[in-house]
C-alpha cells in the first residue's frame, strides 16, 4: 500500500518506520528537512520537503496513487486542511488526522473525518492507570 505521512515528528516518524517495516511504501512530507533524521538509516521510503496543505506538494508526494494519508504535524488547522484536501480533492480512501483540541476533533469527526485526539485519549489512559489507587468519591 502507498502511504503518505505529513509531519515527521515523533509520531509521524514512528508510524512511518513501522509501516515501512511492514512492507508498505511510505512517503514522508515535512517542511523541516532536519526532521527526516528521526526515520533512521534503515528507512526505505521517500522523503519530501514541503507543506501538505499545498496540492502540488501532495501531487509530488504521489497522492494520486496513495491509499492512506496521515496528517500528524503539530498544527491542528494544518492537519485539518491537509486531510480535507486529501479526501475532497484527491479522494484518498483512508485519511487519518490528529487533532489536539478536543472540540475541534469532535466537530471534524462529525463532519466525517477519521480523527485521533491525543488529549482525550491520553487523559483517559492516565485516569485509568490511577483510578484503582484513588479512593472512590464516596470515601473522600
Amino acid at each position: 500500500m502507498n502511504v503518505i505521512a505529513m509531519g515527521c515528528g515523533r509520531v509521524g516518524a514512528r508510524v512511518s518506520i513501522i509501516l515501512d517495516q511492514h512492507g508498505h511504501h511510505v512517503t514522508v512530507v515535512d517542511t523541516n528537512p532536519e526532521a527526516f533524521r528521526r526515520l533512521g538509516e534503515k528507512f526505505k521510503g521517500d522523503t519530501l520537503i514541503g507543506t501538505g496543505i499545498d496540492e502540488d506538494v501532495l501531487r509530488r508526494a504521489g497522492i494520486e496513487s496513495a491509499h492512506v494519508f496521515i496528517a500528524v504535524t503539530n498544527g491542528d488547522n494544518r492537519n485539518i486542511m491537509a486531510a480535507q484536501v486529501a479526501r475532497t480533492v484527491f479522494e484518498v480512501e483512508h485519511v487519518v488526522v490528529r487533532i489536539y483540541d478536543p472540540v475541534r476533533e469532535d466537530t471534524y469527526r462529525r463532519l466525517g473525518l477519521r480523527t485521533v485526539c491525543p488529549t482525550t485519549t491520553i487523559s483517559a489512559l492516565i485516569i485509568d492507570l490511577i483510578n484503582d489507587v484513588l479512593p472512590a468519591d464516596e470515601e473522600l
Binding site: I53, D54, E55, D56, G75, D76, N77, R78, I80, M81, A82, Q84, V85, T88, V89, D101, V103, R104, T107, R110, L111
Partner: protein
C-alpha cells in the same frame, strides 16, 4: 449586523475600523496580546484576545448570534478552520475567508466557505487590467447563489459605448450595479449613458459570465 473578524493584521485592523464606522457591531479576535492592547486603546473594547479557531473563544465572542464571520489571518489553514468551526458549531449564516494562496480559492469553496477573497488574485487581476485585452475582470465569487461580480472596461469600440443602460441587451441574469466614471461611482439608471472609459460593475450569474464578456468586447 454583528460581524466577527478573526486576525488582527493590517487587513483585520482596517476592516474592523471601517465596519465600525459603517455602524456595524464588530468584534476583532487576535492572538497577540500586545496587539490586542494597542488596538483596544485605538478602537475601544471591541478586541478580544484568543485563538479564533477555538470554540471557547468563538463562544465568548458570541459567535452563536453573529451574522458574519470574516477570517483574515495570514494562514490559509487557520482561515479555513475558523470559517468551518463557525458554520458547523455556531451556525453562523455567512463565513468569509481571506485566501493567501490563490490556489486555495476553489478548494475553500468546495469545503463550504461562502465567499473567498484572494488579495494576491486581486493584485494580479489589477495588473492584468492594465493590459488592454484584459478589459474584463472577475472581482468576486458569491458562492451561495453562484453569482459573480465582474468589472468591465468600456473601450471606444465596445458595442455598449454611447448607449443608454436600458437599450443594452444584456444576458438575462446580469445587472449593472454601478459605473465607475473617473474617480466617481455612478448608479446605473435605465437612462444613464455608458461612456468609453467607464468601468462597469456587473453582477452576473456565473453561467453567463462568458456571454457577458463576449457581448462587451469590441466586435
Amino acid at each position: 449586523m454583528y460581524i466577527i473578524v478573526v486576525g488582527g493584521g493590517k487587513v483585520g485592523y482596517y476592516l474592523t475600523k471601517t465596519l465600525l464606522v459603517e455602524g456595524h457591531e464588530v468584534l476583532l479576535i487576535e492572538r497577540d496580546r500586545h496587539k490586542v492592547e494597542v488596538y483596544g486603546e485605538r478602537l475601544g473594547s471591541v478586541v478580544l484576545a484568543g485563538d479564533g479557531a477555538e470554540a471557547a473563544v468563538l463562544s465568548e465572542a458570541g459567535a452563536q448570534r453573529a451574522d458574519v464571520v470574516i477570517a483574515v489571518t495570514g494562514e490559509d489553514e487557520d482561515n479555513l478552520v475558523v470559517c468551518q468551526m463557525s458554520k458547523a458549531k455556531f451556525h453562523v449564516p455567512r463565513a468569509i475567508a481571506r485566501v493567501n494562496n490563490p490556489k486555495n480559492e476553489v478548494l475553500f469553496q468546495r469545503l463550504g466557505i461562502d465567499v473567498t477573497v484572494s488579495q494576491t488574485e486581486h493584485i494580479l487581476k489589477l495588473i492584468e487590467q492594465k493590459i488592454p485585452e484584459k478589459s474584463f475582470v472577475h472581482l468576486l465569487n458569491l458562492r451561495h447563489d453562484e453569482l459573480a461580480i465582474v468589472e468591465a472596461h468600456v473601450s471606444e469600440g465596445s458595442p455598449v459605448a454611447h448607449k443608454r443602460v436600458a437599450n443594452v441587451q444584456f444576458p438575462v441574469h446580469c445587472v449593472i450595479a454601478a459605473i465607475i466614471r473617473g474617480p466617481d461611482p455612478v448608479i446605473a439608471l435605465p437612462n444613464t449613458e455608458i461612456l468609453p472609459g467607464d468601468e462597469l460593475i456587473i453582477v452576473t450569474h456565473s453561467n453567463e459570465e462568458e456571454d457577458l464578456r463576449q457581448m462587451l468586447m469590441e466586435s
